[in-house]
């Protein structure tokens, strides 16, 4: 089985978010980067499938050279080789087009990724990749088992779960609890250095949209403490100031 896992290189979930250049660019100053947490589940499940039934795992990332430590981590966790498509991941269509270009004619049985990245949270790359390759795509996949050529999947739907079966190849957007995140061990880190990390140029792609600007949510207001003896004051504030009653 050949598995392609697509990973994003995103700010750590505890990062402080700020923008520069007239709110058009993310300020990466002092930000720590990680594998996208949902992508990390996809990597973990791919490694489990490799361990249980044998597979080769390729990780792919659309990004500049600074994403390589993130890619190396995926290699340390258990991927066999990696491809970095040397371009800024500008928008979902651009990224999907790059992934589809790498994946076409490469014979991947499974293309796994997170259900969404946690920086721009588009959540559509898996769908677009499926369309471009003319294969099915499913998301948000919580459980993935492979039996022969058939995948048994549980996906989250509004208010419940849906159980489906489909034949490989297909694209899956993954989320918890598909697998437990894996911590690379020292052996994995030492072997990652000698695993191939191939850098390829991007294909020309139209941009279907244009970024205008970003806006942060308004800062949280101050907390007003009210004496429990004065509930009428709370009611008055909720009515007249917060206007929620």
């Amino acid at each position: 089985m050949k598995i392609l896992v697509c990973i994003t290189h995103v700010p750590d979930t505890t990062s402080r978010i700020a923008f520069t250049d007239g709110d058009t660019k993310f300020d990466s100053n002092g930000v720590q980067y990680i594998i996208g947490p949902y992508d990390d589940y996809a990597v973990a499940r791919a490694v489990e499938l490799k361990e249980s039934q044998g597979a080769t795992i390729t990780v792919v990332n659309v990004g500049r050279v600074e994403t390589e430590p993130t890619i190396r981590k995926a290699l340390a966790i258990g991927a066999d080789d990696a491809i970095r498509i040397n371009a800024e991941p500008e928008d979902s269509y651009f990224v999907a087009k790059q992934i589809a270009n790498v994946a076409k004619d490469s014979g991947y049985d499974l293309i796994l990724m997170g259900r969404e990245s946690i920086d721009f949270n588009g959540g559509v790359v898996h769908g677009i990749v499926g369309e471009l390759l003319e294969i099915p795509s499913v998301s948000s996949v919580m459980k993935l088992d492979i039996d022969g050529n058939v995948a048994k999947i549980a996906r989250e739907i509004e208010g419940g779960k849906e159980y489906i079966e489909l034949e490989m190849p297909f694209v899956a957007g993954c989320q918890e609890p598909i697998a437990e995140w894996k911590i690379p061990n020292m052996r994995g880190i030492m072997t990652a250095r000698s695993k191939p990390l191939n850098v390829v140029d991007p294909v020309d792609t139209d941009h279907l949209d244009k970024l205008v600007r970003f806006e942060l949510p308004p800062p949280k207001g101050d907390i007003k403490m009210i004496d429990p003896e004065h509930m009428e004051e709370l009611v008055s504030l909720l009515k007249n100031e917060a206007k929620v009653l």
């Binding site: 390589e68 190396r72 880190i189 990652a192």
Partner: protein, 407 residues
């Protein structure tokens, strides 16, 4: 022998508090580390947050050594990372080893002691002084955590003066006969093997590998410790134990051999204790920013800021000393006296930081809601094990003046 410390039947109590530790890096020392070093540090930090932090207060409170951690340390690769791959190690450099020790001790000094002893005091001598058969027989199992080891040098009457040891063995033709008692041995009650230093008939010190189950060999637990409570400590008692001749370490003899092991372990301690200091500092900084007195965070008071500023200064100096020592170790240039300076400095820094952090936490600092008091009590052992604070000072004095003051 049955395990003597791991008799607990109740499940571990998992803390509801999340470990949100972040390490200070005031002088951008991360820039001195390779991409691989950073990944090693992050992996061990994640491992500690997952496997140690949620349970450590419960283990320490109940004086419980969690034997399962040995296998987990093996899986993550924390045992003897500097040992070559062909013997089950990772072939890592000494900066990597230091970072691993730093992160484990950030979790707990007792946990780090378990890993230090296995790597530096058991695997290191077998690798450095052992025969090829000994290396093949023991090192892979020690690296994977299938076996736990301990190191027997100290005796109840011979701590700083190990050369006076009474433990001895006689050549009986087809075997050696070992007699004596070792004291203050980390891991001993649960260890599968012990690397024991004993004198032969002519008074020459040699290393022997003693295996659990050999007749006449016992390892009683030392009870009543207020320090390193999540680590097991015991004695090694040898009552006419027959040791096969192939269990003698052939590579080196004399006091210099165990001292080489101690250098490796002390190097790990230098890094480890700065880890403990960083944990105390991180906790104190958070607490100072959250704790309100006189309508403002106590971090706004000058005396709290003084404490935090001094803590960070000392930690930063310790980090730089350790990093430089690591590069010297990797170049094969580090001296025992340099290692003494780093071990001694780091433990002192860590204890002082723990004490200041305790003050910032006020009463909460003495409870197991915070890691401070546990670190502080642990560090009191670390201050005098693997060479006492005073002995390291005198090693430096000897180095400076050329005159030994403790012989």
């Amino acid at each position: 022998m049955e395990s003597t410390t791991n008799t607990r039947k109740v499940p571990y109590k998992k803390s509801s508090k999340q470990d949100i530790f972040e390490s200070p890096d005031f002088y951008k020392i991360d820039d001195l580390l390779s991409e691989e070093h950073l990944m090693i540090r992050e992996s061990i930090r994640d491992f500690v947050k997952k496997e140690i932090s949620p349970y450590i207060e419960d283990w320490a409170e109940n004086n419980h050594f969690p034997l399962h951690i040995v296998k987990l340390f093996g899986e993550i690769g924390a045992f003897g990372p500097f040992i070559p791959e062909k013997y089950g190690g990772q072939g890592m450099d000494y900066i990597s080893y230091g970072l691993i020790m730093q992160e484990i001790e950030r979790g707990d000094s007792g946990m780090r002691s378990t890993a230090s002893v296995q790597g530096s005091l058991v695997m290191y001598p077998i690798y450095t002084f052992g025969s090829e058969d000994q290396k093949n027989k023991y090192l892979p199992k020690l690296a994977s955590g299938e076996m736990l080891g301990c190191f027997g040098l100290t005796e109840s009457d011979f701590g700083s003066d190990p050369g006076g040891m009474k433990t001895h063995f006689e050549d009986k033709g087809d075997h050696y006969l070992l007699n004596g008692t070792k004291m203050w041995i980390s891991n001993s009650p649960d260890a599968d093997i012990a690397v024991v230093w004993a004198k032969n008939e002519s008074g020459r010190m040699k290393g022997l590998i003693v295996e659990r189950g050999m007749e006449g060999f016992t390892a009683p637990v030392i009870h009543g410790k207020w320090s390193l409570r999540a680590s097991s400590t015991g004695e090694l008692v040898f009552d006419n134990v027959k040791i096969p001749k192939e269990n003698l370490l052939p590579g080196k003899d004399g006091l210099g051999a165990p001292m080489m092991c101690l250098d490796s372990a002390r190097y790990g301690i230098a890094w480890g204790t700065i880890g403990a200091a960083m944990d105390c500092y991180d906790a104190a900084k958070r607490y100072a920013l959250e704790r309100i007195q006189f309508d403002k965070p106590i971090a706004s008071f000058q005396l709290t800021q003084k404490k935090l500023a001094e803590m960070l200064t000392e930690i930063t100096k310790g980090q730089l000393l350790n990093w430089r020592l690591g590069t010297l170790m990797d170049q094969g240039k580090a001296t025992s006296a340099q290692i003494s300076m780093a071990k001694r400095n780091s433990v002192e820094v860590a204890l002082n930081v723990a004490r200041e952090a305790r003050q910032i936490h006020g009463g909460m600092g003495i409870t197991n809601e915070y890691p401070i008091m546990r670190h502080m009590m642990n560090l009191e052992s670390v201050l005098t094990y693997e060479g006492t604070h005073d002995i390291h000072l005198l090693i430096l004095g000897h180095e400076i003046t050329g005159i030994p003051a403790f012989k």
